[in-house]
Symmetry: C2
Subunit: 342 residues, 2 copies
Amino acid sequence: MPRRAIVEADGGDAVVIVDQTLLPGRFETVRLATLEAAAEAIRTMRVRGAPLIGVTAAYGLALGLRDDPSDPGLERASTVLCATRPTAINLAWAVSLIADRVRPLPASRRAAAAWAGAGELAEAEVAACEAIGRYGAALLRERLAARGAPGPLNVLTHCNAGWLATVDWGTALAPIYRLHDEGVPLHVWVSETRPRNQGFLTAWELGEHGVPHTLVVDNAAGLLLQTGRVDLCLVGTDRPTRAGDVCNKIGTALKALAAREAGVPFYVAAPSSSIEWRHADPARIPIEERSALEVTGGRPVAAFNPGFDVTPARHVTALITERGVCPPSEAGLAGLFPERMA
Amino acid sequence: MPRRAIVEADGGDAVVIVDQTLLPGRFETVRLATLEAAAEAIRTMRVRGAPLIGVTAAYGLALGLRDDPSDPGLERASTVLCATRPTAINLAWAVSLIADRVRPLPASRRAAAAWAGAGELAEAEVAACEAIGRYGAALLRERLAARGAPGPLNVLTHCNAGWLATVDWGTALAPIYRLHDEGVPLHVWVSETRPRNQGFLTAWELGEHGVPHTLVVDNAAGLLLQTGRVDLCLVGTDRPTRAGDVCNKIGTALKALAAREAGVPFYVAAPSSSIEWRHADPARIPIEERSALEVTGGRPVAAFNPGFDVTPARHVTALITERGVCPPSEAGLAGLFPERMA
């Protein structure tokens, strides 16, 4: 089994991904050799998770440029990839990062440069997750020490922000893997995350790694927090604004509210590649609406299926980034990323 | 199709229920002719909803007494029924109501007296729901008038508190049916209600009645409330305390928190038969834990499956009872039910 959610293959002719629509029932990899295959994998959520869809799109652009490295080809590939999913900023960000890098080059050199750029992006995401793991683990250790009481540190998470979502390590799960490897006792409450059930991906990942965990329905978060069964919440994010409002998988905002009500810290693991640096207005983040079929399972009933919600910064205790932990605010992010706040 | 969720049959030899585990896919009725059949129907949730399980248990006791009307038979039947589900108070309340009524009688007259008592209880529940419909409809009309803006009144509900849950009318759905019948434009957001998906029962009921509605996953409540798409929340309850803390289907507390955050009223339809009159301590309400299989669907993962949570009275705008609308407090309930507050 590959330890990474996306790997280069065939001497640079393709990438291999884990088909996440088949997990946890079946572990199968899929080879993506064309722009269209990459776009389809993102659209249908064979790959998902903000950092991973950014990296997959970057490789998709490189694959597209092998077939058509012209200026129109570059623009078409960018458009196709950016249209797959709207909310996570990593996607458009990664595509424009690579496109801007190869646009000045002669057509004959674009595909190779894009491929190299995608590889560098993947490594940068892995490094960011590894750093988030270090900073987050220190924070969680402090919480466990401050709690005093015996027993494992009880963490509640939502959706999947593990290595499946991020090439390697994960964002929210990186500190958990790290602490577990260091021998710190942990237990993770895994929220099912309807309608796509990414909680099963998280449970699968944690199980493979040997981290104790328990699956609950999304509805159970209030009871768990009310009754003192959660020491802290830790989630990823698809697009936090520069002011610290956190757009993440639908249902996150409810958990943050319940955490605040219970006096439990709510942390968000946010690599800089996911941050909306351009503005501070969460109302300008496009909230993806997916097919009603994901909710109804084909039953004849009208359904509305928004994929994300926004947790206001005031309900977030801190952001965990690859440069350290900071308050969810412009000032907090500016302290770690001054060059992005110009 | 019977308009009621439970009806007497075979000249008093049985009751017929709707098998709610088959809905919305299939409408099928089941004949319950023994204590054991009634207990099984409650345990497996062929019948569910606080008022309906109370009435089903009352009939179950009568059926048990036909086979064994002795004192031990009465106690055994009571024990079997009370062990089926712990949280809704209607069940134990209805069983002891009937048991206390027939205990003084000679064994030969107990079964008939219990049957009559069960029938009276069913009619009383229907009358209570009809009254809740009247008081609730007036309240909802006021909200719609106060809102001013055009368009239907948008109501968010959770679980199923319709006629399927209550013999007839429903608790939370009674005001909705009434207003719809009066021609008031309404739209209901129906929360899926994992893990048992009672939202599909609500969607089915509303569809049969012609009330516009849209199904959403439980996670979507925060977004709907944040973005002004909900005018009010209206839910039922399995056991509110005499102080107005509301034990209801898991996930209710999260919706109430989100409603408060958004400044949206949160109403609870509570017939007196569901109220815990004996004490004001929500920690003393037994929270049912059901099989992990309901969450995992058989996948090999550890799961925790609590069925209910408690919404603190301070997050509830008002209770709608069969005697009118009141604040969720001892004083509020005492104003309507002075005889229960002795």
